[in-house]
Each structure stands twice: as structure tokens, then as C-alpha cells.
């Protein structure tokens, strides 16, 4: 008698949210919890202090975990990140997405590498928040400068928060400065942590209903579909060549042998990996970018060239 095969769980995508003290991580977490878009988001806060989740969001508290009415949850990790991860990933009620809020002094590379190594997780993105009004002082700070520089350098997505507190010229100058510190990262400016959740967490509803998502928050999206197979190397070249204003891409496609693979682009970082067993291999793709420069026609023609139609 053969034992039934053990189902391999689908890895949970994990986003690392980094940024020095005062960059606005807590505000951003509240914003994401409020606009989770149907995702069951679990936030692990790798820092101490009271969990400052907006009171109106809280549905209950149990064993250090705050649960929200929309199915999301939030808990503090303290010094036992591995234990918290083990609890979060055990059992059937695994979240759709994990957001790890790093402490203000953390090097996000460590957390990103843990997410890469852990078979139950898929590293989705490293997003670093920067306080537009305070960043110049931080970078020059004798104690904090090197830490902040490392946090920025690790980012795939750089969120220039509190952008309303600086003049437009200064904002442009800061963007240039950040481009030097993190050449491959997508940069966006916002205030009060209002980042499009689809940008920080990837397109919502992808698994159940692939297709265009209303990105919102000043962002637009484009989606494409195709009939045939796409060699992964060609897909990688396509993703790498997309314009800078494409901040995020997620896609699924069949390789010439017919098995499905998943592809991602965050900032300018591209990742291609085998899709979970049972994935419909039909090729489809979603790209997100800021509404200003976003040009669907450019994406449409690049996609058409890739698919050979």
C-alpha cells in the first residue's frame, strides 16, 4: 500500500518593510491593513513597544496576536523571530501574505535572506521607507548613517515618505540621491505611508482571479494574456528590459515543456521560479506603475513581441 503523497504547501510571499526610526513604518502598516484588498495579511513586527494598530481595525486579541475584522492579523516578535515564523506557517490557516516589519536598526538583507532560505516562504520584496524631511540629516549622522545607507541599498522598492514636507525641488534632488544609493530600486513618493498595497504586496486577487487589478493610490496597471509557451530566458529578458516606471510585474507562463513557472519583477530585480503544483499554466501577466509615466501601449507592444504575435 502506498501512502498518499504529502502535499507541498505553496510558499507564502513575504515582504520585508525596513526603514530607520521615524520613517513611518507603523503608519504604513496601518495603511496596508486598512487596504488589504481581500488578502489575509499577517504582519510580524520585529520590534518592541505597544503594537500601535489603529483601534477601529482591531477585532480581537489572543496570545499576543491582534486580529482584524478583514482577516488580517498582526503580532510582535520580540527576540524570537524563528518561533513566530514557525507558528505563523504551521497549520492550515496560513496567511496569504506575510509582512515583516523590521526594527529601525535592522539590516533588511538578513531578513530577506531568511525569507529566501525558508521553503515555506517566497521573498516577495524588500521595501525601505525613507523620511523625506529627515533623510539628509540621517545619512550624515555619525551613529545612524551607515545603517540607513545599508537599508536603502537593500531595497527593491524605495518609498520616500512624508514627501509633502519638502519642496518639489528637494524631492527631485532626493530622488537623484536615492538613485545613487540604490540604483536598482523603484522609487516612489508618498505621504502618511499611503503606498498602493498592490505595489508593496504584489497584485491582489491574483491566485483566484488573474487579471487586471485596480491599483489605485495614483498607480495604474496593465495586464496581458497569451496562448503559447514562453521560454523562461525570453521572459527574463523581457522583464529586465521593461522601462523604469514599471515598478512591479507578476506573471505565470508555460515553458516549452508545458510546465508553469512564475515570474516577478520588483524595481529592477527579476526572479523566475517554478509555479506551485496545480497552477493553470496559461500565460498571463500584470504590471503596475505610477499613473504619470504609465504607458500601456509600450507594455502591450513589448508583450506582443515576446509572444510572437
Amino acid at each position: 500500500m502506498r501512502e498518499p503523497p504529502v502535499p507541498v504547501p505553496v510558499p507564502v510571499p513575504a515582504t520585508i518593510l525596513a526603514g530607520y526610526l521615524g520613517a513611518g513604518k507603523t503608519t504604513t502598516v496601518n495603511h496596508l491593513l486598512r487596504h488589504a484588498g481581500g488578502r489575509r495579511l499577517l504582519v510580524l513586527v520585529n520590534d518592541f513597544g505597544a503594537l500601535p494598530i489603529d483601534g477601529d481595525l482591531i477585532a480581537g486579541r489572543e496570545g499576543g496576536v491582534i486580529t482584524l475584522a478583514n482577516g488580517c492579523a498582526c503580532c510582535q516578535v520580540g527576540q524570537d523571530l524563528l518561533g513566530a515564523l514557525a507558528r505563523a506557517l504551521a497549520g492550515p490557516a496560513r496567511p496569504d501574505h506575510l509582512l515583516i516589519e523590521a526594527s529601525g536598526i535592522a539590516d533588511p538583507v538578513q531578513l530577506a535572506q531568511l525569507a529566501q532560505a525558508e521553503p515555506l516562504l517566497r521573498l516577495d520584496a524588500v521595501a525601505t521607507l525613507v523620511d523625506a524631511a529627515g533623510i539628509r540629516q540621517r545619512l550624515a549622522d555619525r551613529w545612524a548613517g551607515a545603517t540607513v545607507r545599508r537599508q536603502i541599498g537593500a531595497a527593491g522598492l524605495l518609498v520616500l515618505n512624508k514627501a509633502d514636507l519638502v519642496a518639489p525641488e528637494e524631492l527631485a534632488a532626493l530622488c537623484a540621491l536615492l538613485a545613487d544609493l540604490a540604483p536598482g530600486a523603484a522609487r516612489l513618493a508618498t505621504r502618511q505611508g499611503r503606498v498602493a498595497p498592490d505595489l508593496l504586496l504584489g497584485p491582489a486577487g491574483w491566485r483566484s482571479a488573474p487579471g487586471p487589478t485596480g491599483a489605485g493610490h495614483g498607480y495604474r496597471s496593465w495586464s496581458g494574456r497569451a496562448g503559447g509557451a514562453i521560454p523562461p530566458a525570453a521572459m527574463r529578458a523581457f522583464l529586465a528590459a521593461l522601462p523604469e516606471w514599471v515598478h512591479r510585474v507578476k506573471g505565470i507562463a508555460p515553458d516549452p515543456a508545458g510546465s508553469a513557472y512564475a515570474c516577478h519583477r520588483v524595481g529592477r530585480q527579476v526572479a523566475i521560479e517554478a509555479a506551485p503544483a496545480g497552477t493553470d499554466p496559461a500565460a498571463r501577466i500584470v504590471a503596475i506603475g505610477p499613473a504619470g509615466p504609465f504607458a500601456p501601449a509600450v507594455l502591450e507592444s513589448a508583450w506582443a513581441a515576446l509572444c510572437g504575435s
Binding site: Q113, Q116, A117
Partner: protein, 540 residues
């Protein structure tokens, strides 16, 4: 009247200027009644003469000012280091110099316990033969996870059963999971990122800090001649104290312990409240109330925070364990409330930050005799020592590092200039900064006499004299491992010297350390300890 015991000895070195050397010490109610000769002590009345130490040399009980009791837990697993080490039961574990010897010792341990097999203290740099790999450890067990922790804490080597736990195989392509030429994992995992998924599945709970751990630690300390040791940075709450005192206060527990509260992962107000709650709960054998803060990482791990010009070779991974802003707040709050603070600073930039935080806190709330202490403080220069003096700080220097890591510091991490002035005992002495020297057990083995040897000779493993100008005299080093460490614990009024009114805590040596060649200091045999007048037993 309680009975008087009169110990005779070949010599008693007291660390008290009024009577530096003696032949007899009288003890009543656990305390020193008098020091001198049989004649000079006769006036206290009839005494029971105890001559068991008549051919030995007595010193004030050694004080280890920086160790970690969790080391007692480590010995439940198999020691695999390249240096000889003595376990809590007094068994000598030979250093392992080749890979096959590591496999053999682990294989011999398989029968002793079920489940995961763990080894610790391994360092491939000092091991000849093929580099330890999954294949070697598969010979230890094909079915049980086998984990070999490297001594630096950043690496481990595991067998195939352990790799399978984390589903690491040839398709794994992540930083830290090392591969061989054929594309298979070698079994070596680097950094917490790659080690974490294995640890997660072993369900390894946090290190135990219960009675067995503390008893094993106390045995290690006793065998090194230590009568008071610091558990420098424990997760402890007021509610834990009755359980601790239930065994520490017993006469058969051979050690005084200073347990300091680890100040991490909690808001400053909570740490302060816990420290204040702990302070009055101590006893004659358990000192509580001080707080430990860890600022940066380690020099050999390139995670210490260095000033210009940074590391000599290798990449700077300097990290803060607490945000600078939070340090200023925490130090100010604890200082204002009268709490004693010990700050771990390895790199000179971290020392600068600690000095700034203390200066700001003391400007806001000036205090006398606070005895805030810089722990390790390995790279401080003369100007930083002058600032310590001005702020009333003490320091506890990591003299053992000179021997164990000195060559690496000279050649690799910080280069000749700064390596030669590391752990600057002579500067501290000259400028009048109260100082101790320490082992940081389990980072290096506890043994104050060896630590004194390091401070006196400054010899590295390869035999280099690392900074002759910072050598100190045997007398100064002996003072550092007794009164010096007692000062940093606020206990110099009750321990650290043999004088009337203090606890009768002694270290019993086979030879007089001031009479042997300084290079022979570390070879002097420890014959035992006496705690509150009671010999703590044989060291078989």
C-alpha cells in the same frame, strides 16, 4: 558564641594594604574575623585549627565579571573545539585537530541521547584534513539530524537528515546554503538566514536557565577558582527570583551570582520597572538590579562599530543592537532612577556612543559612585579612557581576546596599531579607571588566572607579544580579577579582598602567583575554593 575556624596556609595574599601577606585567617559566621598569624588571632578566643590548606596559597576568591550562565546548558551537547576544555564535571575534553576526530567524538555520543545530535565549539580553521561536510556527518547518523555549531556562532555544518528538514537540496539556490562542485549542498550553512529554517524545525526552545544550567555553570566557575560570577545579561523577571534563590541560597551551591537584566526587546519604562523590582529581591549569594545593554557586535565577526579608518581587511558589517536614539533615552532613564548600567561596546565607535550617552545622562542627573561600566571596551584609546575617568565609569577589558583572537586582530580585523593597544590595561591603570578583566565564557573558557596571564604577558596563540606597552604586573592583574571585578559589581565592600568583615571567600592555589615566572601563571593548579568559610569540595 558561634565557632571560629582558623585556616592555616603557606601564604595568604589578601589584596589589603594593611596586611598584604599572612599565614592564618580566622573565620566566624562565614566572614573573615581576622588575618595574620596564629598568635595575632588568638585573642578572639578558642578556634578550630583547619590545616587542610597548610601547603597551599590562599587568595581572595576570584571574581568573573563577565560570563554567561547559559554555558552550563551547552555542555549537554558534545564539545568539538580545537582547544582542550574542562566540563562541569571536571572532565578534560582534548582539543580536536582533525575532521576524523570530530566524527569519532560525535559517533561516540550517539548512544547517550536520542533525537537531534548537537556539537559545539567547532572551528574549521584549526582542523586538519577534509573540511567537515554533510558526508562526514552522515556517517555519524543517516537518520537523526546531526548539527555542528561553529564557535563563531555564524555557521553550522549539518548532515543530510538535517538538510532534509529544511528541504535544502540541489535545487536550493539561496545565500548561505553552500554547494559543492557537483551542485549538492555541502552541509555548511552560513548566517541565521540559512540556519534559521533548520532551527525552526528542530523546535529548539530558548536556552534553558533553570537549576541544572546554573549548577553546571557554578561547577565550571568553581573549578576555575571563581567564588563570584556574573551572568551578564539574562532574561529574568521578579517572579523568577524565588525559584532561583531556592537553590542559589543553599549551602551546596558553590557560587555567588550577579545576574544582570538584559535590556532588549522592551520599552525603556518596562526595563526600568523590572530592574527596580529585581533590586531588593537578592540575597547574600544573589545580586540583582543592574542592567546590561548590548550596543554593537564583535570585532572578529566584523559586526563591531568602528571609527575611522574602519576595518583593516574585510567588509564592515557593523551593527547596532539598539538604536542610538533609544540608547540615549534608556541610559538617561536608568541613570536617573539609580540603576547601574553595563554596556557592551567592542568597537571604538560604539565606545564613543556609550560615552556620549553616559555624558548626556549624567549631565541631566549627576550621580556619585554610579559605577556604570563599559564591558569589553576592547578598542578604546587613551582619550576615551580619560573620558571614562572624567565620567566616573569603570571598564571590564577582554584580556582573553589577546590570546584567542590577537593574531587575527593583528593580521586581519584591525591591523597592528589598534591590535597592540587592544584591551589597554596599562592605560586604565595609569589613568585610574577602575577595571576588571574577563573571559566572556563561553566565548573563551572561564579562568581568571589564565585571564590574568593574558593581561600580564599579552601573548597570542602564535606566540606574538601583542602590545608590550600595555602589559601589567602580576599584582595588578591579580587585583583586576578580585577587587577590580568586585568594584564593577558594587560588591567591593563584601568580597574581593581578605580582610576583617568581608565574606570568607577564598581561592586555593598550589603555588604563590607572585613567586612564579609570569609566563607560568596559567599553569598554577587550582586546588579548590572556600565560600563563606566553607570549602566547596574536592576538584576530582
Amino acid at each position: 558564641m558561634p565557632p571560629i575556624t582558623l585556616f592555616s596556609a603557606r601564604a595568604i595574599l589578601t589584596m589589603d594594604r594593611n596586611c598584604p601577606r599572612a599565614t592564618h585567617v580566622a573565620v566566624r559566621e562565614g566572614k573573615v574575623l581576622g588575618v595574620g598569624t596564629a598568635e595575632s588571632l588568638a585573642g578572639w578566643g578558642p578556634a578550630l585549627l583547619d590545616t587542610r590548606f597548610a601547603d597551599k596559597v590562599l587568595l581572595p576568591g576570584f571574581v568573573e565579571g563577565h560570563a554567561h550562565a547559559m554555558t552550563g546548558h551547552l555542555w549537554k551537547d558534545t564539545y568539538l573545539g580545537h582547544m582542550e576544555r574542562i566540563d562541569p564535571a571536571g572532565r578534560r575534553w582534548a582539543g580536536l585537530g582533525e575532521t576524523e576526530a570530530v566524527v569519532a567524538r560525535l559517533s561516540a555520543a550517539t548512544a547517550a541521547r536520542a533525537g537531534v545530535l548537537m556539537g559545539w565549539g567547532f572551528d574549521p580553521l584549526f582542523v586538519a584534513g577534509e573540511r567537515l561536510s554533510r558526508q562526514h556527518l552522515d556517517r555519524v547518523s543517516a537518520t537523526r539530524p546531526v548539527i555542528v555549531l561553529h564557535s563563531n556562532g555564524h555557521l553550522m555544518t549539518v548532515n543530510s537528515a538535517a538538510l532534509a528538514l529544511a528541504a535544502y537540496d540541489r535545487t536550493t539556490c539561496v545565500p548561505g546554503v553552500c554547494k559543492d562542485a557537483a551542485g549538492e549542498p555541502t552541509g555548511e550553512l552560513h548566517e541565521m538566514a540559512a540556519m534559521g529554517p533548520v532551527f525552526m524545525r528542530l523546535g529548539l526552545a530558548g536556552l534553558q536557565s533553570g537549576e541544572p544550567t546554573y549548577r553546571a555553570f557554578a561547577e565550571l566557575a568553581r573549578r576555575a577558582g571563581v567564588t563570584t560570577a556574573t551572568d551578564l545579561g539574562a532574561t529574568i523577571a521578579a517572579a523568577d527570583v524565588p525559584a532561583l534563590r531556592a537553590f542559589i541560597d543553599r549551602p551546596d551551591f558553590p557560587l555567588r551570582l550577579a545576574v544582570m537584566l538584559m535590556a532588549h526587546h522592551r520599552p525603556p519604562a518596562e526595563i526600568l520597572a523590572e530592574a527596580l523590582a529585581l533590586a531588593p529581591l537578592g540575597s547574600d549569594k544573589l545580586r540583582l538590579g543592574a542592567v546590561k545593554i548590548v550596543l554593537d557586535g564583535s570585532i572578529q565577526g566584523f559586526t563591531a562599530q568602528l571609527r575611522w579608518p574602519g576595518y583593516y581587511r574585510g567588509t564592515d558589517h557593523g551593527l547596532w543592537n539598539i538604536a542610538p536614539e533609544q540608547l540615549f533615552e534608556l541610559v538617561a532613564m536608568l541613570n536617573a532612577a539609580g540603576v547601574q548600567i553595563h554596556i557592551h561596546t567592542n568597537g571604538d565607535l560604539a565606545t564613543d556612543l556609550a560615552l556620549e550617552a553616559f555624558a548626556a545622562a549624567l549631565a541631566r542627573t549627576p550621580r556619585f559612585d554610579h559605577r556604570h561600566t563599559l564591558q569589553h571596551c576592547q578598542m578604546a584609546d587613551a582619550a576615551q579612557f580619560r573620558r571614562m575617568k572624567a565620567l566616573g565609569l569603570a571598564c571590564n577589558l577582554f584580556a582573553n581576546h589577546l590570546y584567542y583572537f590577537g593574531d587575527k586582530h593583528y593580521e586581519l580585523t584591525i591591523g597592528p596599531d589598534r591590535a597592540e593597544r587592544m584591551n589597554a590595561c596599562a592605560t586604565a591603570l595609569e589613568l585610574g579607571v577602575p577595571f576588571a578583566i574577563h573571559s566572556d565564557e563561553p566565548v573563551t573558557p572561564i579562568g581568571p588566572l589564565f585571564t590574568a596571564w593574558c593581561a600580564v604577558n599579552r601573548r597570542t596563540q602564535e606566540g606574538r607579544v601583542l602590545g608590550a606597552a600595555q602589559r601589567i604586573s602580576v599584582e595588578a592583574a591579580l587585583r583586576a580579577i578580585t577587587l577590580g571585578a568586585a568594584h564593577t559589581l558594587h560588591m567591593d565592600d563584601t568580597i574581593g579582598s581578605i580582610e576583617i568583615g568581608k565574606w570568607a571567600d577564598f581561592t586555593v592555589l598550589d603555588e604563590d602567583p607572585t613567586a612564579v615566572h609570569p609566563m607560568a601563571l596559567r599553569e598554577i593548579g587550582i586546588a579548590g575554593t572556600v565560600l563563606a568559610g566553607q570549602p566547596t569540595g574536592a576538584l576530582a
